[in-house]
Subunit: 201 residues, 4 copies
């Protein structure tokens, strides 16, 4: 089983990302179960605006798309700005929109029999909404979203510290993230054993 | 396999519900696959405000809750008002919130190994958001949301006819609803064969 | 100048409402500026399902509607469940939906030249989204939403104490609430002095 | 009075933008009232990721920010992808996030006494949600959102034609857009005559 994580922080490498720190908890739990993991920091790449799978010269999306489709498990990780997902996360979802009309050899949308979950961090508030938006987009494309396949960290009300600046709530975010990893893996395995069948031809 | 549908129209029986008409397509596809179905029209029942599983005198939720938990597949159906789910739908989600802390004999949240999908109708616009809100809530509680497990009908921009007043887009809503039924059933079966395991004790 | 507050808690009077406690800060700031205030606890009333201004026998909405339209300033106050507004809040918005097609003597939608803001409380997360949903609905109907006309309190991540159980963040919620009151009043006064004109006849 | 429009299409100039076509209706109505207008097609500019007002080398945001702050009226225009605002629109909002802590000479947040509205286009569904998200973000920053200060065009259910490919619903989108222009201008004028006062010092 393979997992791909997409960290949608606004900070380019090697700047430290709070989102990365929380994401590592989920990935660590997957690795301990034998899952191979791969991580993309999206902002390090040129992801052209558009909704096709290849927007031409300089577009690095085609190579990222291959890495995404090599994995049965997708973990989208986003910071929260204005109570919403990052623009980098939205860009990734837009490019994945093309998957709506791409099918595998059996005629199934390419996202079928894959599972997705989320990791959300913020200085204030908004994780539930960000999770609903990301999972809503991925579900639209065809990903299955296992129950409780997310974790988050923030600390309202109003602006406050970042995840790495405090210990507040870390235990909850960690145990929730480990449960998310277990749920993602269990549903990915269930679908591997009994895939959504091809449509009647 | 059993499915429960909750029609969250604002109209009491026996008034005709557009949402019911579209819901019937999804349920019909499930019945043809041998699924037993049960339907609740929520507004016909007294569902008390609150977030516990029994709000006392006159509260009809405990009996509805039993019917919901008797099914592996949940289909939430809602009209769209102001681009949002109905108040009846939100009331049902609030009462299901109690399931967050209710576990089965093996210590798993009661919603685990169940799947959920949506049916949304409207005179204007908003289905994607309603689907994200409903599925976000149900995923929070523990339901798994199979890829593309929803259908909808509306016809923007601005106010317009209801589903039963026109043929516009019915083919798309029907074929999307039938695909939703197939996806709900496939993931429900995959989880029945390989359930999310109990947490380590 | 008059203000109407609608507390959309799920708790019936006289049970203590956290939302009420935060709402009182905004109303207190308005009273100090000479604004007359009136408060509805919506769950204490029978507000029938529907989207007309009078749903018949037993519907208490018509009297509430009169109180809402007697005020130039509206403050909607809601708790947060599953990261979303309460079902009681959504019910109020649904009934206000009828105002979309109701006009004053000059042909303007009845909500024009009125302003609206929000107060949101929660045990966890979701205030930004609840504010966007409530203000989005009220703006759809015709209310003007002054900049920063809201306050909120919560304390993620995960479940935690209620507003009245802790002092965490109270200062921020209070000063933000007082600024919201000032902004609501300033824009209400600006519109009273220079109303949105009637449509050309 | 001056208005700035930000077209958040994913298409670079000179490709034809459906969003531009609907935006022109709102801007045309403003021009007829003597408003000076300026339009930014955001995707034609390098807008660096980040949440400060200047992200350094190559960042074109500082010049765009000047144009935005030269106007009392802001019209954000976005296409709809997956039922959500475009990534370009989210990027603009993120950069405007810095305005939260920027004040004018009197100590007011720079967005105070400015008004904002929306234009949304799509092939399917989602305008209400996009409007709520954009206006929610702008309101967070301090913009006042006049009642009914938006228009949209789409045509669900499911994928369909673009705005410029059909006449369906154009009349509604046009008259709604003209009303939006009138409401934006009326509230901008009311605030110019009676601004939100500076905070007590």
């Amino acid at each position: 089983m393979r997992a791909i994580a997409i960290n949608c922080t606004l900070k380019r490498s090697p700047e430290r990302s709070n989102t990365d720190a929380l994401l590592d908890i989920v990935l660590g739990a997957l690795v301990r179960e034998g899952v191979e993991t791969d991580t993309i920091r999206a902002v390090d790449h040129v992801i052209a605006p558009g909704v096709s799978s290849d927007e031409g010269d300089g577009d690095e999306w085609p190579a990222l798309r291959e890495r995404i489709l090599a994995a049965e498990i997708l973990v989208m990780a986003s910071p929260t700005w204005l109570g919403q997902q990052s623009s980098v996360c939205k860009r990734v979802l837009e490019r994945m929109d093309a998957m709506l009309s791409e099918t595998d050899d059996d005629g199934r949308p390419v996202a079928y029999n894959r599972v997705a979950g989320c990791v959300v961090t913020g200085n204030e508030d908004g994780a539930h909404h960000v999770i609903a938006e990301i999972c809503g987009g991925l579900n639209d494309i065809g990903y299955t979203v296992p129950g409780q396949s997310w974790t988050y960290w923030n600390m309202g009300p109003g602006p406050g510290p970042s995840y790495l600046d405090t210990d507040h709530g870390h235990d909850w975010s960690r145990s929730t993230g480990e449960a998310a990893a277990a749920n993602l893996l269990a549903v990915a395995r269930a679908l591997a054993a009994n895939p959504i069948p091809p449509p009647p031809s």
